[in-house]
Symmetry: C2
Subunit: 191 residues, 2 copies
DNA sequence: AAAAACTCTTGATATATATCAATGAATGTG
DNA sequence: CACATTCATTGATATATATCAAGAGTTTTT
């Protein structure tokens, strides 16, 4: 149940057994089924979720009620709305379960306790957020000013794993094109 | 010369006098003039820059040679290409001086020394990157799927300071529209 | 097994925005 | 001060992509 978490921590920092036990017991396991919501628009995000198994995605709804996918999270990834988590303000985002999942939930109090008590945990978190920032910046570069075809090519190059696990219309939303356009881009690809 | 840096640190963490001295002396001051380059495409980013005074911006060049603005940095902000800084690989970005500037430069060795030696510095960095991540995610939301007019409205709402200090064509690039379109959006606004 | 809901594809049309081009204003430079 | 750059505006046109609409194939639900 905690394999992915342990693996993720060990990839970036070294923990004593005692530190690991303290981390481990700060999380609460939670199973969720496809289509369930981890967070809904208007809620305050009070917890961080670590994905042990399965897949989640977050999105906002535009004025016409269309989903605007923000990001996906698979095994070994974190998911939350950090803005709401840190500010305590209601979120504009929904987090929905894409595949039946096993999550490890960490509430704010425990998160802060770990940051204080376990220095490698704070280091881990710095590195994780750093990496997420770099990836996100790359995404901004790919979102602005590219054609639909270029966006799709870059997705294939940079995040091929998404293609097998995520419905095409969510991919379309993620790269900021309509589902029809993505379908046509893919169509012209096969010729 | 170190006012902004001290202010930025104190906003997020508490440092002993000794820790502050250690931080301070790890930086190297550097003056730069408008149009000079802090980093050029193909270079490896080996330093973090903190802006004491002035303004910088980073951008990549698309296939047609047009600038694609990634971000701006004013007093109290950090600037670097983190991807290149952490991986040691050559950057695709240019960092150019927008207004004559006073920078504080921190090389990788000193950065890592501070992370090790000064716990509040690591905490500061975690928080800074966290905040940058939240801001960047907001930007992705604003970049994808909005009309030119909506993008401009959100920029006014969220980063009004940019408008006074940055030429309009760079703003246009930053929000991902052509300079002509931005000009027209602004024009229709004044009526 | 039938019905319902979801997903992808394909076609026709509309539209927002890029592109091309010219002009004038503002700014910097020898 | 003349000259060259840079910058913003405006018009005409082209084009990529959204939107609207229908149908076929899947998957899910009852």
């Amino acid at each position: 149940m905690y394999e992915q978490l342990k693996k993720s921590l060990q990839e970036h920092v070294t923990l004593s057994d005692k530190e690991w036990e303290l981390c481990k017991h700060s999380f609460r396991p939670k199973r969720m089924l496809k289509r369930q919501f981890l967070l809904q628009e208007g809620d305050v995000c009070r917890e961080l979720a670590f994905v042990e198994k399965g897949a989640l995605y977050s999105y906002s709804l535009d004025m016409s009620g269309n989903k605007r996918v923000i990001r996906f999270a698979f095994e070994g990834w974190w998911m939350a709305n950090l803005q709401s988590f840190f500010t305590g303000k209601p979120t504009r985002l929904n987090i929905e379960v894409l595949e039946d999942s096993e999550l490890l939930i960490l509430d704010r109090k425990n998160h802060e306790m770990l940051l204080e008590q376990v220095p490698p945990y704070e280091r881990y978190h710095r590195i994780i957020v750093q990496n997420a920032y770099v990836a996100l910046q790359r995404r901004v570069e790919n979102a602005l000013g590219l054609t639909a075809e270029e966006k799709y090519e870059r997705l294939i190059a940079e995040s091929p794993a998404f293609l097998n696990r995520v419905p095409q219309h969510l991919i379309a939303s993620y790269i900021g094109v309509s589902p029809e356009t993505l379908s046509r881009v893919r169509g012209s690809y096969n010729r």
